[in-house]
């Protein structure tokens, strides 16, 4: 009798210990620095006993981590590349995309900089290095210091496609590890310019420039030239707790509120999942 109670107590204890499942999320800094952590907090606050572990090192790490099996799902600010798709296929797997929200890439300048309106061509010229001084685009004299994300970033690549017509970044651009670092560098430098996800453009000391006279605001999401989708990626269709979380973050009004508060735009029409072909 005694033995039975002891074993059942042990069983109950192990049950309690395993009840808290852990979800590991890896990938994009744009998603992983603010939006996903806040979503997980809200998710936990909604009464889900789940432990989250988030590592945000750039979109490319989303796919390398999923391939290595070190993440339960990934975050990416760009679509999967065909080479990455091949890698999944060769393991008999498939990466499934879920649109997590819409982001605008804001071009930010220092608050004290007189230039607050740029054309798309000027943006391209600045980041490709064709223009090197603010005076060339109607500002006060001062050498432009352009800050970009590092090459593992999805934003780096998306920006090159959206704003720069695929021309390569200029040699004098400085590669920074994350959105926050870019915002920080631009805030500390009158001659700085950079680009960040919309969520980071509201910091003190910086101002988002208008591009082709459209300012990066959620209301302008159809007209702003530099907007893009954000994705969650799972290996195959999501299951269990991961599926629950992703569904919640795509459909729940609470999640939408969190996403909008952070500065992104919650997915409008809730596609359950769109396998990118």
């Amino acid at each position: 009798m005694k033995l039975k109670t002891i074993t059942s107590a042990i069983a109950a204890l192990t049950m309690a210990a395993t009840a808290q499942t852990k979800i590991v999320i890896k990938g994009s800094d744009t998603l992983g620095a603010k939006m996903v952590p806040q979503l997980t907090e809200a998710y936990k606050a909604a009464g889900n006993n789940i432990q989250f572990e988030i590592a945000a090192e750039g979109s490319s790490s989303c796919f390398t981590a999923l391939l290595a099996g070190t993440a339960d799902f990934g975050m990416s600010s760009r679509g999967i590349k065909s080479k990455e798709k091949d890698k999944f296929a060769s393991k008999g797997q498939e990466a499934v995309a879920h649109i997590a929200g819409v982001d605008m890439i804001a071009v930010i300048v220092n608050e004290a900089n007189g230039v607050k309106a740029l054309t798309k061509k000027q943006v391209a010229d600045i980041f490709t290095g064709k223009v090197s001084d603010w005076s060339q685009i109607g500002g006060k004299a001062g050498a432009i210091k352009a800050y970009t994300r590092n090459t593992s970033s999805g934003t780096y690549k998306t920006f090159q496609k959206l704003a720069m017509n695929k021309v390569d970044y200029g040699k004098n651009t400085r590669k920074m590890a994350g959105n926050e670092q870019i915002a920080e560098a631009v805030a500390g430098d009158v001659n700085g310019i950079g680009y960040v996800g919309l969520a980071y453009a509201k910091r003190d000391g910086i101002a988002a420039a208008t591009v082709d006279n459209v300012s990066p605001e959620p209301a302008n999401k159809t007209t702003y030239p530099l907007s893009r989708n954000l994705y969650y990626y799972t290996v195959g269709q999501p299951k269990g707790e991961v599926q629950k979380f992703i569904n919640w973050s795509l459909t729940s009004p609470v999640a939408a509120k969190v996403i909008n508060n952070v500065g992104f735009i919650a997915p409008d029409i809730l596609k359950k999942s769109a396998s990118l072909k």
Partner: protein, 650 residues
Amino acid sequence: MKDLKPSKPFSNATSRKFLGITKQDFIKYFFGGNATLAVIIIIAIVWFLIHNASTFFPQYQKKLNLYRISGQEILDFYAKENNAVAELSGLCVQAREYEIQDRLGALYRVIPIYSEFKAKSLKKIIGERKELKRAKTALSKIKIKPSVTNTEIKNAEDYLNNCKNSLKKAISAAVNKLDFSQVKNKSWPTDKKYLQPIRDAIVENVTTGKKPQFISDIEAQEAKKIAEIDALPFIQDLIKSKTAFNKPIPAMNTFVEELRIIADKTKAQGNKYNDVPNTKASLEKAISLAKTTEIKQEKQKELNRLYTIEPDYNTFIKPIYASKESYKIHHSALKEAIKSGFSTLPDTSKFQGKAAKAFIKDINDADPAQTLAELNAKVETWKHDEKYSMGQTVKGFFFGTEWTTNSSWQDFYGILPLLTGSVAVAIVALIIAVPFSVGGAIYVNRLASKAEQTFIKPFIEFIQAIPSIVLAFFGYVVLGALIQEYSQSWMFSWIPGFPVEDQYTILNAGLLLALMAVPTIFTLCEDALNNVPKAYNEASLALGATKLQTILKVILPSCASGVIAAILLGFGRIIGETMVVLLVLGGKISIPDSWTASAHSMTGILAQEIGEVNEGSLHWGALFMVALLLFSIALGINYVSQRILNNYSK
């Protein structure tokens, strides 16, 4: 007399044997095995590096061939021609603006300083601003209430006025603390007479929300002065030059842009075709792993869709060959633009500003006609099906000046920017570290008292215990800003490369790395000094030499090899350091042109990019090539320092 018997630590012929091995044998094998293991591990590491790097050159060659056969290469020549002339137009614009800046003096920076100060003082009154906002919303809420008494409204209004007053007080107090010494950019000219108006304008703007009259006046003054300057004949000429340079640029831009789309498509097809074997293998594997027949069929369909015939490059390239005709027109337009632009370019002597003069000099020094002719020759002889040779590929890696990865256009892996960055930092660090560490070692070893020795030595060796990330963090947060600020002082203006324009520079990283190299060099130097026979010192002193003479003429020459080896090992320590250069060097991938510029390093690029690459890809191979090179450099340095020690210390 028992004590005289020699003690034998492990001598025990009659000891127990285990599997035929005595205790002594076991210890022998244990240490021998350790040494062998170390050798095997080193060989394994070298093999691993070479194995992973070996795929790089063939893959890179293939990519470069595709770059050529798709026509991307010739389009880059076109674009370079265009950029060479566009740059001149840009320089003209800069020369005009910097001349204006120089002639306007303090007036030029009044508005930027106003904006900077405003942002600064707004930060100091956040509380008051919030309170005011609250009072305003409270008042508007009260006003729309259906039943509201006059006293309620009056109270709310009073409170609002109170808030306004306290805001005004706070902002006045904040602006009165401002003065021109707080301007971030110390090179901006300032004038005392503008300080009070700027302060008042901020107060006016913050309290009323309107654009202050003073600012409008300044704008008007500026506009008037600029119009005057623009009316000067030589500025007119400059503007003419600028227009002339700029004339053919937009047309050629669109011309190249249109062709780029074609080349990009060809390249995408080529890439797909080149990947077919990989895609095929992975799809076949997917089919074999598929769980349902549906997936199997889907994958089979995908497999059947794969390209099996090589893209017809000869057809795809036709529009690009055809473009050569229009290119000729654009090319001669560019040449014409250069000629007419230079014909009106004013002389340097007419400009007042130093910066403006420098820009005009840059224009004159540039030889765009030469650049154009070179590129034109390349265009003329260019053939899409001429293959890159292995030699060109290898040369492209070791002497390439471009490191462009994850590009949507074309990746280039040229190591020169990274190598020069690493070496430049190491040299700066050594220049700073060597006098301190060698001098310190001499002092501690030869001149210091016992008490000083016991104090200084552990202190210097303690530096080694600081984790490099802590130093890097210090450089990132503190040192960079300090250098940037103080380098703007006139006292340092004679130093080349000053004032420092960036926070994250070779100088900053070099200072931190010097700190890390000091313990290494110091300790090894001290060892070398210790190894000098006592007799040398005593003989020299006995002959009547002073202490200093003895050190400089006798001690140092006799341990020079040790000192050189110490410096070399310090160099090795610096060049392999990662954390500091990753954080503090600025991440700018170009060959540094000054010791206060930003740069990137070999170790930094490895740390930054290795996490993002797919195993076995071209980029992966390139990173392993970098690692291999780094390894060879470290090995070479160690070998040379060992040789120096062995050869000259006899």
